[in-house]
C-alpha cells in the first residue's frame, strides 16, 4: 500500500493512457491516411507522373491542363448539377416521405422496407437497372409507346443536355430511402408537446412541419447532409455503370475524371491534380463547418 501513496502529479501523457492507446488506430488513420495521403497526392500533382508516381516536377503544368480540359469543366458542372439536384430532391422527397410515414400509418414496416431496400444494392446494380429502364427501346419510353402514347419521349440517357437528370433519378431511387429513415428518426425524437402546442395555436400541419419541425431537425439534417454530400462528391460507380460518362462526355463527374486520368490515360499527375482540386473544394466547404460543429462547443 505504501507505493500507492503517490502525491506527485503524474505525467500528463500517461493519464488515461488506455484511451490514448485505443485511439491510435484513429490517429494513425487520420494522420497517415487522410492527411499523409492527401499531402502525397498534392505533392505528386506537381509532377508529370504517368503510370507510376515519379518525382519529375513540372510546376503547375497539370493544373493548367486540368483547367483547360473541357472534360474536367464538364465534370465540375455535372457535379454541381448532380449535387444540387440530389440535395434538394433527396431532402425534399425524403422529408415528405418521412412525414407521411410519421402519420401513424398501417404497414409502416412494409413501406419502410420498400423505400429502403435499394440502399442495400450497390451502385453498379442501380446503374445497370436504370440504364435499362431508361433505355428508349426497352424501357419506360417503349412501354408507354406500346400503350399507344406514340409521342411519349423520355430518353435522358441519350440526350447530353439532360443526361445528368437520368443519373439523378437512379441516385434518388437508391438514396432517398436512407434520407427518409434518418429524418424519420429525427421526427420521432420531437417532443409530443410541440405537436400539441401547434394544434392549440391552430397551426396547419404543413406549416408546423415547415416552420417548427424542420428547424428542430437541424442536428439530424447535419448528419444526413454529411452522409449525402460525402456520397455526392464520391459519385463514380453509378455514372460508370449507367452512362459511362456518355453520351459523349456529357455525364462525366470529377471522381471519374480522376480515375480515368490515373488508370485509363495513365497520367497520374493529372489525376492527382484533379484530386487536389477536389480536396481543396471539400476542405473549403467542410473545415469551417467542422470547426463550428465540433470545435466550437466543447462542453459537458
Amino acid at each position: 500500500m505504501a507505493q500507492s501513496n503517490v502525491s506527485g502529479r503524474p505525467f500528463r501523457l500517461f493519464r488515461n493512457l488506455n484511451a490514448k492507446i485505443a485511439a491510435i488506430p484513429m490517429i494513425l488513420t487520420a494522420l497517415v491516411i487522410f492527411v499523409g495521403f492527401s499531402l502525397w497526392t498534392v505533392v505528386y500533382s506537381f509532377t508529370k507522373s504517368g503510370l507510376l508516381p515519379r518525382q519529375d516536377f513540372v510546376g503547375l503544368m497539370q493544373y493548367e491542363r486540368l483547367w483547360s480540359n473541357t472534360k474536367w469543366l464538364i465534370s465540375i458542372q455535372n457535379l454541381l448539377i448532380f449535387g444540387i439536384c440530389m440535395l434538394v430532391f433527396s431532402f425534399v422527397i425524403g422529408f415528405v416521405l418521412a412525414c407521411l410515414m410519421d402519420q401513424k400509418i398501417r404497414f409502416e414496416g412494409v413501406f419502410r422496407t420498400i423505400l429502403l431496400y435499394p440502399f442495400a444494392l450497390s451502385f453498379v446494380v442501380t446503374g445497370v437497372v436504370w440504364q435499362w429502364l431508361l433505355n428508349p427501346d426497352l424501357g419506360i419510353q417503349s412501354v408507354m409507346r406500346g400503350f399507344g402514347w406514340e409521342s411519349f419521349a423520355f430518353d435522358p440517357l441519350n440526350n447530353s443536355r439532360i443526361v445528368m437528370f437520368g443519373v439523378v433519378i437512379a441516385a434518388l431511387w437508391q438514396g432517398t430511402g436512407f434520407v427518409m429513415v434518418l429524418l424519420l428518426a429525427g421526427l420521432r425524437g420531437i417532443d409530443d408537446e410541440i405537436w400539441k402546442a401547434t394544434r392549440i395555436d391552430g397551426i396547419p400541419t404543413w406549416k408546423t412541419y415547415l416552420f417548427v419541425v424542420v428547424p428542430m431537425l437541424r442536428p439530424v439534417m447535419v448528419t444526413t447532409l454529411v452522409i449525402v454530400t460525402a456520397g455526392i462528391v464520391k459519385v463514380y460507380d453509378l455514372v460508370v455503370a449507367q452512362t459511362n460518362g456518355g453520351p459523349g462526355v456529357s455525364s462525366e463527374v470529377p471522381a471519374k475524371y480522376v480515375y480515368d486520368q490515373m488508370f485509363l490515360n495513365q497520367n497520374l499527375g493529372q489525376g492527382f491534380a484533379a484530386s487536389t482540386m477536389m480536396l481543396i473544394t471539400v476542405a473549403i466547404i467542410i473545415i469551417p463547418w467542422a470547426y463550428l460543429e465540433f470545435g466550437g462547443r466543447k462542453r459537458g
Binding site: 417532443d191 408537446e193 410541440i194 400539441k196 402546442a197 394544434r199 392549440i200 395555436d201 391552430g202 397551426i203 396547419p204 406549416k207 416552420f211 417548427v212 428547424p215 428542430m216
Partner: protein, 356 residues
C-alpha cells in the same frame, strides 16, 4: 352577464376514454365555474394529462360531452375551443424568438398586425418578459421560459387556461416562486384555469377546488381545505399531506377508539360513528406532546427544517410522524407522550376505505 356567471365555464359530462382495450378514464364529470382555479391532482398514470388533453381536443374521446362556456365543443378543433395550454416541457418553438413564439398562433389566425403587437405588449407587461422578447428560448432561464409558455396561452385571449405540470421541470426554489406568480396571475386575469400536477403543495396552495384522481376516477372534488380536513377515503387521506397522515388500525367502542389495548377519546370527532373496526387517521401536525398522553411512542429520527421539525416515532412497530412549529430536539430513543386533536382526525371503514 348574469347568465354567463350562472353557467359553468367548463363542463364535462360522462367523459370516457379508452386506448384500445384499456379504459383510462371512466365516467368523469366536472363543472367548473368561471374564474375558478381547479387542480387535477393524482399519482403518475392516474389520467390527469389525459383529461386535460380531452378538454383541449388533443385526444378524441370515446364517449361523453365537453362544454366550454355553454358551447358543446366535443368535436371541435383545439384552436376553436377558446382554450390556451401550457406544457411541462414548455414546448416553445426553439428557432423562433420569444416574440415569434407569442405571435405564431395569432399570425396564423390572420389577426391584424397592430392587434398582435398590442396583445404581445400586454402579455409581456403582465408576465414581465418585455426585456427578452427578441431572445430565443435557448437563451432563457427555466423560469423565463415558463413565463413565455404562459404568455403564449395568454395572447390567445381565451376563456380557459390549461396547465399540464407546468412547474415540474424546475427546481424547488423556482417552483415555489413561480407558484406564487401563477396564483397572482390568476387573480389578475380572473380566467378559469385547470391545472394538472402531482405535487400536493402546488395543489393545496393554488386550487380553489382540487379533483383528486386515481386510475381515471375522481376520488374527491372539493376545496383544498375540505380535502385536507375531510378526505373521503383512505387513499385521499394518505395522498394529501407531507409527511403523510398517520394511520392506526383499531376499533371504535362507544366514544373511544381502541388501539393496542388503550383507548383514545373520540370526543369532538366530526362524523357519524358506530362500533366496529376502524382506522384512525391523524396528521402529524395534529398531534401534540402532552403529559397526559393518549398514546406513547419512542423517538426514532428527527428532521429539522429551520422553521419547524418533524419527529419520527415508533409506535407499536410502525412509524408515526409528528410535526411541530418549533425546533425542540429530542434524544433518540426517549419516549414521548402524544395527544391527538380529535376534531381534526379522520376515521375510516377498513373495508370500504371510506371516511366514517
Amino acid at each position: 352577464m348574469t347568465e354567463a356567471t350562472s353557467q359553468p365555464s367548463l363542463a364535462i359530462h360522462n367523459l370516457q376514454l379508452s386506448f384500445g382495450a384499456v379504459q383510462v378514464l371512466e365516467d368523469v364529470n366536472m363543472q367548473i365555474m368561471p374564474g375558478e382555479f381547479v387542480v387535477l391532482l393524482g399519482g403518475s398514470g392516474s389520467g390527469k394529462s389525459t383529461i386535460l388533453n380531452c378538454i383541449a381536443g388533443l385526444l378524441d374521446i370515446s364517449d361523453g360531452q365537453i362544454f366550454i362556456n355553454g358551447r358543446n365543443v366535443t368535436w371541435e378543433e383545439p384552436k376553436d375551443r377558446g382554450i390556451g395550454m401550457v406544457f411541462q416541457s414548455y414546448a416553445l418553438y426553439p428557432q423562433m424568438s420569444v416574440r415569434g413564439n407569442l405571435a405564431f398562433g395569432l399570425k396564423n389566425a390572420r389577426l391584424p398586425r397592430q392587434e398582435i403587437a398590442s396583445r404581445i405588449a400586454r402579455a409581456a407587461e403582465i408576465l414581465q418578459i418585455g426585456d427578452y422578447l427578441d431572445r430565443k428560448p435557448a437563451a432563457l432561464s427555466g423560469g423565463q421560459r415558463q413565463r413565455v409558455a404562459i404568455g403564449r396561452a395568454l395572447v390567445r385571449d381565451v376563456d380557459v387556461f390549461l396547465f399540464d405540470e407546468p412547474l415540474s421541470n424546475l427546481d424547488a426554489k423556482l417552483r415555489a416562486e413561480l407558484r406564487v406568480e401563477i396564483k397572482r396571475l390568476h387573480e389578475t386575469l380572473g380566467n378559469t384555469m385547470v391545472y394538472v400536477t402531482h405535487d400536493q403543495i402546488e395543489a393545496m396552495t393554488l386550487a380553489d377546488r382540487i379533483a383528486l384522481l386515481r386510475n381515471g376516477v375522481i376520488q374527491q372534488f372539493a376545496s383544498p381545505d375540505e380535502i385536507y380536513r375531510k378526505p373521503v377515503n383512505l387513499y385521499v387521506a394518505g395522498f394529501i399531506g407531507s409527511p403523510s397522515m398517520n394511520f392506526l388500525k383499531g376499533e371504535i367502542a362507544g366514544d373511544s377508539f381502541r388501539f393496542n389495548g388503550r383507548g383514545v377519546s373520540l370526543a369532538g370527532y366530526d362524523g357519524d360513528l358506530s362500533d366496529g373496526p376502524a382506522i384512525l387517521g391523524i396528521r402529524p401536525e395534529h398531534v401534540t406532546l402532552s403529559d397526559q398522553p393518549d398514546l406513547e411512542a419512542q423517538v426514532e429520527l428527527q428532521e429539522h427544517m429551520g422553521a419547524e421539525s418533524v419527529t419520527y416515532l415508533r409506535l407499536d412497530g410502525q412509524r408515526f410522524a409528528i410535526r411541530a412549529p418549533d425546533e425542540r430536539r429530542h434524544v433518540i430513543g426517549t419516549t414521548l407522550g402524544l395527544r391527538f386533536d380529535m376534531t381534526r382526525a379522520s376515521l375510516f371503514d377498513p373495508r370500504t376505505e371510506l371516511r366514517l
